[in-house]
């Protein structure tokens, strides 16, 4: 093709971002190469560096979410604690089932498993930001443990349904799943943690 700018408006920056999101979601941070992203975007590898500098900042740019989950959580928390389990389950599934938000999240989780920087990213974000806020809304001596139990259940669904795609969980109906999860979350949030408490 030869060097030099192409005629017309350039979509390269966006092509690269989309290709990067797909790669990171499928192969994680370490398993994704700048060159492979460039091939997917039909672009030279140097262009990736021209737009984004280093691989790490490309990752950061690609993992930027269209919605801020902390805001979604804040919205869910305003309506009190009574139906919280149900509303939480539905909001969670809605975000993850949306490809625009789901792909970066899958990439983040995949990368967090084997890349320290991504793990820190996820921990600070999900841990400090979201779990702390959830625990703050609870008013219970074991609020933090309750919040992490909720987090563990949702993380498990994220792994099984969206990352590993285990059937029939991966294809399960949105409502069916929400109904199954809601009582679990509600018990972790406000119910008796151990049967002997009753």
């Amino acid at each position: 093709m030869g060097p030099g700018r192409r005629a017309g408006r350039s979509t390269s920056r966006n092509d690269i971002l989309e290709a990067a999101r797909a790669r990171f979601a499928r192969h994680g941070y370490v398993g994704t190469t700048v060159r492979a992203v460039a091939v997917d975007a039909r672009v030279d590898a140097a262009l990736v560096h021209y737009f984004f500098g280093t691989k790490t900042s490309l990752f950061a740019a690609a993992m930027a979410l269209p919605v801020n989950p902390a805001d979604v959580l804040a919205g869910v928390l305003t309506d009190g604690v009574e139906d919280l389990g149900e509303r939480l389950a539905r909001a969670f599934l809605r975000i993850w089932d949306d490809p625009a938000a789901g792909a970066p999240l899958v990439g983040l989780v995949r990368s967090a498993a084997s890349h320290d920087e991504a793990a820190t990213m996820l921990r600070e974000f999900a841990g400090q930001e979201m779990l702390a806020r959830l625990a703050g809304a609870l008013d219970d001596p074991r609020a933090e443990l309750r919040a992490t139990l909720v987090g563990a259940q949702l993380l498990g669904v994220a792994m099984g349904r969206y990352v590993l795609r285990i059937e029939p969980l991966a294809s399960a109906n949105h409502d069916t799943l929400a109904s199954a999860l809601a009582p679990t979350l509600q018990r972790y949030l406000t119910g008796e943690l151990s049967p002997r408490d009753a």
Copy 2:
């Protein structure tokens, strides 16, 4: 040091295995290099290949579990379905809290997130072997969905407590956690999946 065999009995093969387990558990398959394993084992990189051939078979050897979880599950399943949630939760935590079995499992999960071969390994093993057996013990039209819900909850605990080490889940007491999880698992196994079923 110079080439040639060292005096006395050699522990190198085992040193390499232990170093590999630790590396795979911390950095996953892709993030672990044969050279780093060799350094940890205080051995030349070529020796790793001498003993284990390829990196993939080193991984397979390092991920071999001291106990077969499928057997543990079979044992748990013999005593009927009444207290199954409680027994399942305890057996799960017992295995993962044991370092000898826990390290390979953490390595497997970490690697599964970003390495296709490890993902297949985990899927075939946990999916076909364990979830199918669990579903088979259930006698319910939605047995498979129930089994994967149990799997998702346990996978979430594995990720949060052992892989990402999110507090206070990571340091939570064994019994406290088992008590909190047992009702969830029991409901997924034999309870009403959706509140409207009642």
